[in-house]
């Protein structure tokens, strides 16, 4: 069934098709539509789930953690300052190894108050132990929520699906909604090994002394290593069933590319147009979409960039005092690689500014002209 859906409602449909049993959320623009639609689905009976209104995002995540601990598939969504308020519990969810899926609609952090697209909110949560996927269009939003549960429940890690405010959240696109029956066949019910069960009383999340803590953290690290494969396997399996495959990365025309543009989220779409046009003009250019930020697809990226001369990273985010974050991650994984390309870090589109094809083309031409970047981070698309 195809429907024209805004990105947020595509997320709601992904949750519904995943047969989530518990939803707790606190409203924040531009996320609110997701849980608003879910509350309607709960009310009209099309989704059999407990919908819990809470007084803060902190409580929303706490509630979802509690529900998942009892072995119930759960969901929440947030944005920006709301996500920041969850910070403590994001660590908790990952440490407790709970396969929660949440959507974060990427929105700039205040002040100044700004409700528009910016990845700084979820990238600030880099080290909380969550799997993070940055998705490009509304179809991918729906598909990634369903895949998110299969990934999360295989590796016992929480998964955060991130997409850009307004460019996706409020923009309508045709979306193919899979049949519930097919999703049911593809996504098994949540059946955790450990859950809070009065028949078998166990204490959860208690004290772990120095003799075992580091070992348990090593387990968490290994789960992330495993997730690198699982995300790709699940993305392929999804493709086999539904005709749309996904991976941790997507490389377009990179095999012989001398210059590779690296993007994430909705900025990937205009970059597709620009790189295709330039290739048609004879430029050896490729495009690398980084869909998975955590775990970071280190090996795949090294392989793609091994033969390129230049890598041009466009970041809609910034780590203050350093660099665009994707650029920095790429630099770090390419360190000590003998054939590493020159890495250009561009920052664009913060707080909802458009990353237009013209701007991307300007960036590519500048990188193509220069042997080396003028600075670690070059800010583009600003007023003079």
């Amino acid at each position: 069934m195809k429907k024209v859906l805004m990105g947020n409602h595509a997320a709601s449909w992904g949750v519904r098709l995943s047969r989530v049993k518990m939803i707790a959320a606190y409203p924040i623009t531009p996320q609110t539509h997701i849980v608003e639609e879910l509350s309607e689905m709960c009310a009209d009976g099309s989704l059999d789930a407990k919908f819990l209104k809470v007084e803060s995002e902190h409580s929303a995540m706490a509630s979802v953690i509690a529900a998942e601990t009892t072995g119930v598939r759960s969901f929440t969504a947030s944005s920006s300052n709301g996500l920041a308020l969850m910070h403590e519990l994001l660590h908790w969810a990952a440490g407790a190894r709970l396969p929660i899926v949440m959507v974060n609609v990427n929105r700039a952090l205040a002040p100044g108050w700004n409700i528009w697209a910016d990845q700084s909110d979820s990238l600030s949560q880099r080290d909380t132990g969550w799997v993070q996927l940055y998705v490009e269009d509304n179809q991918e939003v729906l598909d990634s929520v369903i895949q998110g549960y299969r990934v999360a429940e295989q590796v016992n890690l929480p998964v955060m699906i991130c997409y850009d405010a307004f460019y996706l959240s409020h923009t309508y696109e045709p979306v193919d909604i899979p049949d519930q029956e097919q999703v049911d066949q593809w996504l098994p019910p949540f059946a955790p090994e450990y859950f809070l069960n009065p028949e078998n009383p166990q204490a959860f999340n208690g004290l772990v002394m120095p003799d075992n803590y580091m070992e348990m953290r090593f387990n968490l690290h290994q789960a992330h290593e495993k997730a690198k494969t699982v995300v790709n396997d699940v993305g392929s399996a999804f493709g086999e069933r539904f005709g749309r495959s996904y991976g941790a990365i997507e490389a377009v025309s990179c095999e012989d590319a001398e210059l590779i543009v690296i993007t994430s989220s909705s900025a990937t779409s205009p970059a597709r147009i620009v790189t295709q046009q330039l290739r048609e003009k004879g430029m050896k250019i490729g495009l690398l979409k980084v869909r998975m930020f955590r775990p970071f697809p280190t090996e795949e990226i090294r392989e793609i960039l091994a033969n390129a001369k230049k890598a041009v990273v466009i970041d809609r985010n910034f780590s203050w005092g350093k660099s665009g974050i994707f650029a920095d991650e790429i630099r770090s994984v390419m360190a000590n690689q003998s054939d590493a390309p020159v890495i250009f870090g561009y920052v664009a589109g913060l707080g909802g500014k458009s990353i237009t094809p013209a701007l991307i083309q300007e960036i590519v031409e500048e990188a193509d002209r220069n042997d080396r970047p003028e600075a670690l981070s070059i800010w583009k698309g600003m007023k003079a």
Binding site: R97, N156, Y194, Q202, A203, V208, M216
Partner: protein, 586 residues
């Protein structure tokens, strides 16, 4: 893995994926960390200590709260044969000491007592608790002290004979307290409960006149509860004039239905309950009534509530008026002369003594004068070596006189004259008489049967028939307001009872005060803090961070502390809303 030892993970791969317990911590006996420990200990609620009749007030209120007023009545009847009477006429000193009074307002204990008593199962009567002992006890006087002693001694299995001078038993409950405060049928019902225990009531039998004192020797023990029936005299020659009556005599004739003709204006001299009762009766008989009292309102011995109602009904009360003389014409009272007074030094009772102001005499006109300045006992007929002091029979804490086997109680032996104290003295004597009949000194029971520190006695503790955990308050410690955890309570209005309108009251002697509805009684009972008494609220059980408080219906408290694991943190004690737990050294 065995539960009684810690699980050791030898390799990283043995660890569970999640932070989850794979065994128990029972091997870790954290109780060894403790240096102080909690213990369940019921304490004495202030109301229980404050009840001269020794009622287990907290306990009966708990039963009303649980929706079982019949059980509440049974608890009351374990201690007091007169809950219907006390629910109406007691001045409720329990409420003055109620901790709730510091929070919002005291619990309406008297109204709850009346409610419980009114809900006694119609066919149920208190049973004997022991088989017949073949011991005979004589009770002289059938007021609240005598009948209470008779009731308990009969329940203890003794053969009890009550000698009463008047036509019917009840003493001042029948012949002193007017019907608008205590209807006669209410009193009669509770006296019937006592009769049903086999107590013989010999009325119109004046000991010392109709029955010789020597005949008392046929009894194993005698309880003297002869009351105070002699009116104190003003000492004026004019006191014998027509139109002058004593308060007791007036109330007695009203009670017997022998309604005296009163003049248009009645002057009453005195400030005690007899004066107020006489005044309110005189109002109902159509007279205009004024009370003259020689001290100020603060020193009045009458119950405050009665004074308030008397004034509302239209009694004028004049203070600091010292009687000078009755004004007579042809040996008939026509008025009263008083002299104004000021308050001087405190007398031994702690009240300030009136000091007359010379030259301030004033006259008031009256057709009827009622004197109610106090009453005394007629002790002339008693053996001369029976020790007395200031007109009272001298007794010890449990009512024993200086004659072995002779006990006394009630107004004839007490300085405080009211129903509750009389009942308390009857109970103390019943316990002492029973223990003497069993050749066991009452001192053996003293620690067990005294409730708190004001002398109240518990018969159910004497007989060990009370609920098990009530006997757990061996410390005698009374719970102070500061010991409660007020986080668990919120202000709630005290429920009021309905009263007759003033106009309705003046049409006769119909009872003024109404009772509580079922709903209001429950709400009022729910206000009770249950100071110092466990109500199984589960706070200790819920809050214990070590799960060391377990439920155990075999334990008197209903809970058991597992000391193997109790760290002695004291949270259970802190969170107990009512201070029914203590911390103590190991």
């Amino acid at each position: 893995m065995p539960e009684e030892e810690p699980i050791v993970y030898d390799t990283q791969s043995q660890l569970p994926e999640k932070v989850v317990s794979e065994g128990s911590m029972l091997w870790n006996k954290t109780g060894s960390w403790r240096y102080i420990k909690p213990r369940y200990m019921n304490k004495v609620p202030p109301c229980n200590q404050g009840c001269p009749a020794g009622n287990d007030i907290e306990n009966f209120i708990q039963q009303i709260g649980l929706g079982d007023p019949a059980a509440a009545w049974r608890i009351l009847k374990e201690e007091n044969p007169f809950p219907k009477v006390c629910g109406r006429v007691c001045y409720h000193p329990c409420e003055s000491v109620c901790n709730r009074d510091e929070f919002d307002r005291a619990i309406a204990i008297h109204a709850l007592e009346r409610f419980a008593a009114e809900h006694a199962p119609p066919d149920e009567r208190p049973a004997k608790l022991r088989p017949d002992s073949s011991k005979r006890v004589a009770i002289v006087g059938s007021g609240p002290a005598g009948l209470t002693a008779a009731y308990h001694l009969a329940r203890m299995g003794h053969s009890v004979t009550v000698f009463e001078a008047k036509e019917k038993p009840g003493g001042l409950m029948r012949y002193g307290i007017p019907g608008y405060r205590l209807p006669q049928d209410v009193l009669e019902a509770e006296i019937d409960d006592i009769r049903s225990l086999g107590v013989k009531m010999k009325c119109k039998q004046v000991v010392g006149r109709d029955v010789a004192w020597d005949e008392m020797k046929a009894f194993s023990a005698v309880f003297l509860s002869i009351g105070v029936h002699k009116n104190r005299l003003l000492g004026f020659a004019s006191e014998g004039a027509r139109g002058v009556r004593s308060g007791l005599e007036f109330l007695d004739s009203v009670a017997r239905g022998d309604v005296p003709a009163l003049g248009e204006k009645t002057v009453i001299v005195g400030g005690g309950n007899a004066a107020i009762d006489a005044a309110r009766c005189a109002l109902r008989l159509g007279s205009e009534v004024s009370i003259y009292y020689h001290r100020s309102r603060k020193e009045m011995p009458a119950f405050e509530e009665e004074v308030y109602e008397a004034e509302r009904e239209g009694v004028a009360i004049h203070f600091l008026a010292q009687p000078v003389d009755i004004i007579t014409e042809d040996n008939r009272a026509v008025g009263f002369q008083f002299r104004k007074a000021l308050l001087g030094e405190q007398d031994p009772s702690g009240r300030r003594t009136p000091v007359p102001i010379p030259g301030t005499e004033f006259d008031v006109s009256a057709d009827t004068i009622i004197t109610a300045i106090g009453e005394t006992s007629d002790l002339a007929w008693l053996p001369p070596d029976l020790q007395t002091e200031q007109g009272r029979i001298v007794i010890d804490q449990f009512g024993l006189t200086n004659h072995p086997g002779v006990f006394a109680g009630g107004d004839t032996a007490l300085t405080t004259h009211n129903v509750a104290y009389a009942i308390g003295s009857g109970k103390a004597a019943a316990c002492a008489i029973d223990s003497s009949l069993n050749d066991k000194p009452i001192e053996n029971f003293q620690d067990r049967i005294i409730v708190g520190g004001k002398g109240a006695v518990s018969v159910s503790r004497y007989l060990e028939t009370g609920k098990a955990h009530a006997a757990n308050d061996s410390s005698g410690q009374v719970v102070a307001f500061s010991e409660l955890n007020l986080n668990y309570f919120e202000p709630q209005a005290r429920r009021k009872t309905q009263k007759l309108s003033i106009a309705e009251r003046m049409t006769g002697f119909e009872e003024v005060n109404g009772g509580l509805s079922d709903q209001h009684a429950r709400l009022e009972a729910d206000r009770c803090f249950h100071c110092g008494v466990c109500t199984l609220c589960d706070n200790c059980y819920v809050f214990c961070p070590d799960v060391a408080v377990t439920k155990n219906s075999q334990m008197p408290e209903g809970y058991e502390i597992v000391y193997d694991y109790c760290k002695g943190c004291g949270i259970c004690v802190y969170e107990c809303p009512r201070s029914a737990m203590i911390m103590e050294d190991e």
